[in-house]
Symmetry: C2
Subunit: 414 residues, 2 copies
Amino acid sequence: MKSLGVIVEYNPFHNGHLFHLTESKRQTGAEVVIAVMSGQFLQRGEPALVSKWTRTKMALKNGIDIVVELPYAFATQKAELFASGSISILSGLKCDSVCFGSEQGKMEDFQKTISLMDNEKEKHDFLVQTFIGQGYSFPKASSLAFLKVTEDMNDILDLTKPNNILGYHYVKAIQEQESTMQPFTIERTGAGYHDPEFNDTPIASATSIRKHLFDNNGNIEKVQRFVPEKTYELLNHYLYKVGSFHQWEDYFTLLKYRILCSTPNELAEIYEVEEGLEHRVIHTMKESMNFHEFMTKLKTKRYTWTRLQRMCTHLLTNTRKENMLDVSSSKRSEYIRLLGMSRKGQQYLKQIKKDVEIPILSKVSGVDSNMLDMDIRATSTYAMKFNEPARSEWMQQEFSKPPIRYDEEKECFL
Amino acid sequence: MKSLGVIVEYNPFHNGHLFHLTESKRQTGAEVVIAVMSGQFLQRGEPALVSKWTRTKMALKNGIDIVVELPYAFATQKAELFASGSISILSGLKCDSVCFGSEQGKMEDFQKTISLMDNEKEKHDFLVQTFIGQGYSFPKASSLAFLKVTEDMNDILDLTKPNNILGYHYVKAIQEQESTMQPFTIERTGAGYHDPEFNDTPIASATSIRKHLFDNNGNIEKVQRFVPEKTYELLNHYLYKVGSFHQWEDYFTLLKYRILCSTPNELAEIYEVEEGLEHRVIHTMKESMNFHEFMTKLKTKRYTWTRLQRMCTHLLTNTRKENMLDVSSSKRSEYIRLLGMSRKGQQYLKQIKKDVEIPILSKVSGVDSNMLDMDIRATSTYAMKFNEPARSEWMQQEFSKPPIRYDEEKECFL
């Protein structure tokens, strides 16, 4: 079976995702599609709107055949590690191709830019450090350095655009990992990545959808025209069961407790707490009544909002620098955790199983892995939003729940 | 001025405390009374019903002249350290005498028992280890060893009684610290220490009073006849302002978060988490929906409920073994933190100030002390019960609030 990989968050699965999926299948001629999906916490350092299990159902109902979890160790990282973790999993699952959305939309430009940057690496890195020295954040410094290196050139990626940056790192990871997967890209149309407002097309950014879900909590009709019917049903069901969608404010008390009941030295051991940020974090938290206020006060020119939010996620989940040592050096996932599959997905797995070199996990109990422990802690943390007994049931599920199985012909879960 | 020290929790201040205070003044002829009082967490490993500030007010309104805080490092310990910390503070404040309640009620018996135990120390310690080896808890093993050593003797303390045990350690600490304070004891009358039921006298145990406060939350009339009027007013006021009294269940979510989002190694660094208890703690917490269930499942013959509750307090406040190293060796407080004083108390302090060798703290900001950091973390943790903005205001108070001043003639706070 010809297989295609996609790298997703589906927070939530919307019409833009459906368009990308359909178009990817058409362009690559794939018969089976594998999604590697972030778990309970996302790349922007936020809790997912709904759990990874509900998002897995969204994916399966909308045409994905296999959903595997991108481990926390990669899902909450900047583009480079996020990309290499994802690629290692799709490549491990023997995907023939990988297809990603980008602002650029032309594959040649990615290849060309990577070659160029290989040649200009020294100059680029020097410029990045220079701009950081001038007080710019890492992403801004990278953008400026890139613009400087590539001025007067044509057909070069615009690496100030978020999806171009991710795509760049996907293609780079494929090269570095000597994967045989073929990369494809599709131009993103309609809403921009961070566009907070709705327009008159059926495509809206996930950011704008989330904004409307929170602004009109309990009344989600306004987003109906931007998501597939099956997403809408699942969102409604989650809201009915859980009461509200997950957001940072739900975890503010825990974050405050973590920060104010730790010593500065303990906080400095947490991943991404760098350069004395622990003192600023403690000081700011003392004066903050909610998460938004905390972030607003914490923000400086030196650090982006996203960078600080990721740090908060690591504080919340108690993820220490030592936990990430292996991740930063290997840049590859140690396992492939199966969240769900269709009948076709199951067939595909049977077919490739003997060639897969990374362990495929259906359940996590009894597995000894530092990387997996981070996923489990992430779920334990995510579940703290609930009251008992839902909370304990949830945590138990994380150990005992087998992958979701979907019968795509009967359109039902087994 | 002739001064008397008392060691208290006042959780809450009740008629039995008033009786003890009046009788102590009478016996010792003291003109000024100093109470060293546990802060937000108590010796049984529980959060105090109401904050240390409200309990300070109770003390001042009921005849105490100076209230100082027994640091967390001593307040949440077994009898020996609890006693030596308390004695070091009262002795540091130049008290002429110290008076404690006991089941025995005769000072000579304390002295005699201490001499005896000095002589029989080796035999006693050997027996304690033997009984622990047979699976008994430390307090039970100590009791059994003591009974064995003292069988066939007369006028010996009954060291199976909780207040006799504390008194024994007070007197022992006075000797060890070569303090000139003279110890007195008053026989405890009326309700037993742990008696959960009311009887027909105006004296009830603090345990029974707390039980009734929780059983009839929001309706505290039933305890009115067991507490002085001023306690009753302050309890009512606290309830009005805060909504409910503090209890372990209020902190269960935080405890669960602490336990399930830490590694076993991290938990093993917490004070009193010994002998692999970290695994039992994690395993038990996964299955527990509330604090009472957690404790009931955690309890074994080997560990008393109180011992395990103290461990939970240290887990909650993130108190590590390394934090307690100095405490266990020095057994003395590094500072004397003033919580409140009457006019007379203020006069007394003025008079003795130049002779006091331990720093007296009116405010805690800017003081660098590991022991004090534990008190601050205890207050930060204790305040997590509240919603914002009360929570943040509370935490700020801990740094900025000067001692409470009480005018005993006008019966008002200044």
